[in-house]
Symmetry: D3
Subunit: 169 residues, 6 copies
Amino acid sequence: MTDKKKIAIYPGSFDPLTNGHIDIIERALDIFDQVIVAILHNPSKTALFTMEERVEMIKQSFNGEKCVMVDAFGGLLVDYAKMKNATAIIRGMRAISDFENEFQMALMNRKLNKEVQSVFLMTGLRWIFTSSSIIKEAVQFGGDISDMVPEPVNLKLMEKFPQKTKSEE
Amino acid sequence: MTDKKKIAIYPGSFDPLTNGHIDIIERALDIFDQVIVAILHNPSKTALFTMEERVEMIKQSFNGEKCVMVDAFGGLLVDYAKMKNATAIIRGMRAISDFENEFQMALMNRKLNKEVQSVFLMTGLRWIFTSSSIIKEAVQFGGDISDMVPEPVNLKLMEKFPQKTKSEE
Amino acid sequence: MTDKKKIAIYPGSFDPLTNGHIDIIERALDIFDQVIVAILHNPSKTALFTMEERVEMIKQSFNGEKCVMVDAFGGLLVDYAKMKNATAIIRGMRAISDFENEFQMALMNRKLNKEVQSVFLMTGLRWIFTSSSIIKEAVQFGGDISDMVPEPVNLKLMEKFPQKTKSEE
Amino acid sequence: MTDKKKIAIYPGSFDPLTNGHIDIIERALDIFDQVIVAILHNPSKTALFTMEERVEMIKQSFNGEKCVMVDAFGGLLVDYAKMKNATAIIRGMRAISDFENEFQMALMNRKLNKEVQSVFLMTGLRWIFTSSSIIKEAVQFGGDISDMVPEPVNLKLMEKFPQKTKSEE
Amino acid sequence: MTDKKKIAIYPGSFDPLTNGHIDIIERALDIFDQVIVAILHNPSKTALFTMEERVEMIKQSFNGEKCVMVDAFGGLLVDYAKMKNATAIIRGMRAISDFENEFQMALMNRKLNKEVQSVFLMTGLRWIFTSSSIIKEAVQFGGDISDMVPEPVNLKLMEKFPQKTKSEE
Amino acid sequence: MTDKKKIAIYPGSFDPLTNGHIDIIERALDIFDQVIVAILHNPSKTALFTMEERVEMIKQSFNGEKCVMVDAFGGLLVDYAKMKNATAIIRGMRAISDFENEFQMALMNRKLNKEVQSVFLMTGLRWIFTSSSIIKEAVQFGGDISDMVPEPVNLKLMEKFPQKTKSEE
């Protein structure tokens, strides 16, 4: 048994954080001592929320949970993982189409850095259809998604799409 | 950071152990403190090697590695995992067809016991096409598979299919 | 609008009926006027329950529901559908691997009889991992599956595997 | 047997309508009393044909067929389905990659409105490779696609890409 | 440009030959100078037709076609291919589930012999749902499959299942 | 045995050429007498390299290899293939998601021109995760990809992303 603290990186866009992401983070905490939620800074992709808003929403959602850190990163994921002394990169899987991309990326990451493992955790059944993009699409037309995101994210979504969120009625 | 020893179960038939299995076990040891290689006792399936032979080959292949334990089990995997105080069930993934079965089994396991996580690790690229059954099929017709299995397994396979193993020539 | 009664065939082994099957039948009843649960008589496959037991369990589970009929059939599905004046063959889908077989069978059925449509309905999320075979495997080792099958099926399963069903403790 | 008229929504972009779409609509009419072809108004996607052109081409292609209605809609599909008293949402399936998206969307739709069923019908074999986008790509370079679209659509496509449509030669 | 005759092996069970197989063989003849239809001798699998019957039906179906040879083989496919001086192993693809097995087998074959290419040809659209096993299942219950197999195979199938073949009526 | 020179088209973007592409071309040369690397001119897609740069890099990488030709083309692939008297269109396959698109395109191509075969070759195991886009993404952040592309491409990539390429250090 090694005494080294086991650190895992959980990379993604988190635009915004969903209950599906939270589910994966909690599962990861059963295995790792610390999970770094690493928001990818991707200049070529338009996000609904700014990097600051995304960091803030995640911090509020994990308020007081010391083992969860939030960070933004750019560049190569494996370089970032090395810098953070991470043992593993966490990926949540929901469906088969996810799997193939993940597989290809994991092979590329391993080529670039053999020391970091890709670890796949399975999203809970009820989050299989929960994705940031499907939530943004639903909320835009007034769909009630309040039980698919943590409260700080729900509030923020209502700010962005004020008149249409049914959960306000 | 918790002080609890992190134990993972790696269940399978291991008929016989391949280098692909060893690859997964070594990756698991980067994350867990102990890996229990748990050979499923399945009375309804005919195996090439007896349970004793399989246990023996795995022990020989991990000679001196204290973090790897070998065991046989029957019954429900989640009950076994609980009894062993395991945090996680390890599954190696090679291909998409693997994935779907795994997914269904992992959902069933979670229903039966919410405390054990299913953790998927990715087989190294060179082991993608290595399976116990494909190895048995190849060796039976004299294909040289000596670089796909550990030495103790290769010796045992040559005993079972003596005149045909090319690596003996 | 036609006045013809819309009849659908729901073929399968039903060895035994699960809550997933019931879910599909109830969805089908939203669309069709009658659903015939057609148990395939397959002499080359060993079943846990006899044809009579399977018919009986389905009848008990749909006690009083006039729109659900139970029947046994052999031979070509499309011939049977024609004989029963069915408009459609119902298939429940849970996963991608299901889909491809279904697709091939549906193409073959259409070739043999162009008048019957194959209609695919989606299993409810909580039944995605519920299959007759996975239930039989779990119950055999004492897993509690009482919320995955209707009560008459649960009782029958406990008869077959008496000492091990945990829900009896 | 209920006396309620069974209405199904068939949503899509229909940019333009293909023979594959017509095949699905005709199959749906075997099961439902009325099919509403509902063209999704999507401001963020550039279409080849205007909404008016698309409505017009579908009307011309189903000239005189009283059970087929054409409509445009925006917002949530399930809200639209409810407003139209629809029992079901029809989706045509051609391939596995279709399936997974459909599955996720159907799960989301069910969460938002439990009363509407997602019904999957199988495209006829000869339309498996027929999609609006592949047709637009082919016609743009002079490929003859006149047997893959109804006549009103073919005429309209020849207007858009006049000098190149080989079927005019 | 090399003057060497290009030989391809087309391995399979051919129990029995279907029009889908013939389609693949004809496509292969556009590319290769000779195609060897190699029937796998598999003692552990029960076949409907004997090896002699299968060889005979293929010979009759390719009567007079000099570029098509028929042979039976056992052992490792790559050893057989080498012995026959074959450049390539032909595989017909119909569906995604085919693909993954094929991929794994092709990787294994390449490992065992680097000189033989695996070449995948696409079955014609109308043969996508034609497989030896689905044909045997249909004919057994009196389904008319006379346009899915060559005439010599149809005759032989009617001998095996005499009273039920509808095409005889 | 026909005396006609067997020509194959290998179409793609080649932005830029990778070792995976080279692997496929070399396999194709085992079967065909000539391979035409046909760069698709796609005005609606932004490329990293100009058409001239791409042609040049491929020519340099196959310096002296007479059986490999490089060309640019627009319009319908099957028309181009016919003009070049090609017997086959070569496609490299790496993964399942590739396969389905390829299948649909191949069916469309066959409809438009029955005389050209689609031939699928399997990428070597080590190139499974090598794609032009994944390489561009990695090199942009300083990942060392020098063993995944031919030397002329590596030099050109270092010109485009000068300060970040680690292999220069």
